[in-house]
């Protein structure tokens, strides 16, 4: 029962585990409520600020604007990254994937400036920076997944009389789709990191990043914490959604993992 929570690799009952998580969250909230840090806003202040952000500053609308931009960027970046990664089957394209992966070291500010020179509208700049940023991270993760393909897997497809392209399609494209979705899930967070920065540079379309920037600027710490918690909750919901999609479309993907 309870002692299972402290035994390595133990499998506590779901009800026990959920109760434990609930208690941990409650403990943190109580700690926050009764022992507030001097610099950190109290739970009450954050609650009040959250209410104010929703009712007077359009938090939900700004969140929606950021979310749709992020999803749009992620969609485009995923298609691009899949294309670049799958093309590594052809030696001619391998340098492109290698270069794309290394471009994640480029700084966002310099990149934004460069994009602004190339593109006319603020929205396009914002979207292209996000797409670029997400693509280079996705390519890194996706090529790593592709590189885990073993000789045995490819030989297996070949012994079934499949051509090289068909073997690649069966083993790498179809066989690793679930891993690709996992790579997308893991890298979605990077878009949230970037979007808050990009929205402060291009303020015309608003967004939760701009709202956060304003709270920072006027030293509304409670507002900052409230927005951060909203972003955290949105990210957790996204993770859950991706895990759900993975279970739905790729039911085999979790069968061989340790429970």
């Amino acid at each position: 029962m309870l002692k299972d929570l402290f035994v390595p690799n133990a499998k506590p009952r779901p009800s026990v585990f959920l109760t434990m998580v609930g208690c941990q969250v409650l403990f943190l909230l109580l700690l926050w409520l009764f022992y507030p840090l001097q610099l950190f806003p109290t739970l009450g202040e954050v609650g009040t600020s959250f209410k104010d952000l929703v009712t007077t500053q359009g938090l939900i609308q700004e969140l929606w604007a950021s979310l749709t931009t992020a999803l749009g960027a992620l969609g485009i970046a995923t298609v691009l990254a899949l294309g670049i990664s799958y093309l590594t089957a052809l030696p001619f394209f391998r340098p492109i994937a290698y270069a794309a992966s290394k471009m994640r070291y480029l700084t966002l500010t310099g990149l934004t400036f460069f994009m602004a020179l190339l593109l006319s509208s603020g929205h396009q700049v914002k979207l292209s920076v996000l797409v670029f940023g997400a693509t280079v991270y996705l390519v890194t993760g996706m090529t790593s997944a592709i590189l885990t393909t073993t000789q045995e897997e490819m030989d297996h497809a070949r012994t079934l009389g499949m051509s090289e392209w068909r073997s690649f399609y069966e083993v790498v494209v179809l066989g690793k789709l679930d891993e690709m979705l996992e790579v997308v899930r893991q890298n979605f967070a990077i878009i949230w990191t970037m979007i808050t920065l990009v929205e402060t540079l291009y303020q015309s379309e608003g967004g939760i990043g701009l709202l956060l920037y304003k709270q920072n600027r006027y030293l509304h710490l409670a507002g900052v914490v409230a927005i951060q918690l909203v972003i955290l909750a949105t990210g957790a919901a996204q993770d859950y959604l991706f895990a759900f999609l993975r279970r739905l479309f790729f039911p085999y993907s979790e069968l061989s993992t340790a429970k």
């Binding site: 045995e152 897997e153 030989d155 297996h156 497809a157 070949r158 012994t159 079934l160 009389g161 499949m162 069966e170 083993v171 179809l174 066989g175 789709l177 679930d178 790729f250 039911p251 085999y252 069968l255 061989s256």
Partner: protein
């Protein structure tokens, strides 16, 4: 009258050598598998293939399966003989790979569709599911199958799409005695269902494999006149055993015969020496 005779070649290896980065792994391997004919029996061929771990058995299997071009030499299959291509020879690798993203039914269908239209492929697959005692697992993914079920599925998949040749890499390793009997039954069923069906068994289980085989190959280093090992493993004429000619093939209960026991001891000595 002899109880068996030989007809056309099924598998021919000529002067196979293989080097990796200048290191000779295999050299001068020439082998023939001929269609053995027994009156009143659909008799396929079973070749037992032995050698110490790391000697190059898997490399030779990949060459025979057309997955790895040899540095020199040729592999010919089928009748009339032609150079081997990937897909001509079924190869069930040690860990019984299947497509993990497909159900068992889909795994077999994708193989059967290589030679048959969809409707016909479905009929074939149903037949194989029943023959290999896998019908109740058709909707399962490979990760949900037991080791034995997975092995049967991998063999069925290769049989559905390969020609007459199939290589089984360590088919008995890690199996309990009941499962070994089951795999033996499958091999006998495969080799007696078509005159040209040929199974090459790569194994360290000498007794079980030899009892099933009509030919044995022993891969190992050859020694020169001074007794020094020559680089690169080979299968010399002395290490190609025709069990049919020796009167040690196709006999139930052969393992109890003194000649069989002697042969196993001889094989063990040869492997130790290599």
């Amino acid at each position: 009258m002899a109880d068996h005779s030989y007809k056309e070649p099924i598998l021919t290896l000529r002067d196979i050598s293989m080097q990796f980065g200048g290191e000779v792994v295999l050299r001068d391997i020439s082998l023939d598998v001929l269609d053995v004919v027994r009156p009143g029996v659909n008799q396929g061929q079973v070749v037992g293939f032995y050698g110490r771990s790391g000697i190059g058995k898997s490399v030779l299997c990949r060459i025979i399966a057309g997955l790895l071009p040899p540095t020199t030499g040729t592999v010919q299959v089928a009748n009339p003989q032609r150079p081997v291509c990937p897909g001509d020879v079924g190869f069930v690798q040690q860990r019984y790979p299947l497509f993990n993203h497909r159900t068992l039914l889909d795994n077999l269908l994708v193989a059967a569709q290589r030679k048959h239209a969809l409707t016909e492929a479905k009929v074939k697959v149903e037949d194989f599911l029943a023959r290999f005692d896998l019908a109740q697992h058709r909707r399962k993914y490979p990760a949900q199958l037991s080791g034995g079920q997975r092995q049967r599925a991998a063999i069925a998949q290769q049989l559905l799409c390969s020609e007459h040749l199939i290589i089984l890499d360590e088919p008995f390793s890690g199996l309990d005695i009941a499962m070994i009997d089951e795999v033996k039954k499958i091999i006998i069923e495969v080799t007696t269902s078509n005159e040209l069906n040929t199974v090459v068994i790569v194994s360290h289980d000498l007794a079980t494999t030899t009892a099933l085989s009509d030919t044995l190959w022993l891969l190992g280093p050859e020694r020169d006149a001074a007794g020094q090992c020559i680089t690169g493993a080979t299968i010399t004429k002395n290490h190609q055993y025709n069990l049919a000619e020796m009167g040690l093939a196709w006999q139930p209960g052969i393992q109890a015969k003194p000649e069989f026991v002697q042969l196993i001891e001889h094989l063990k000595d040869e492997i130790r020496k290599s």
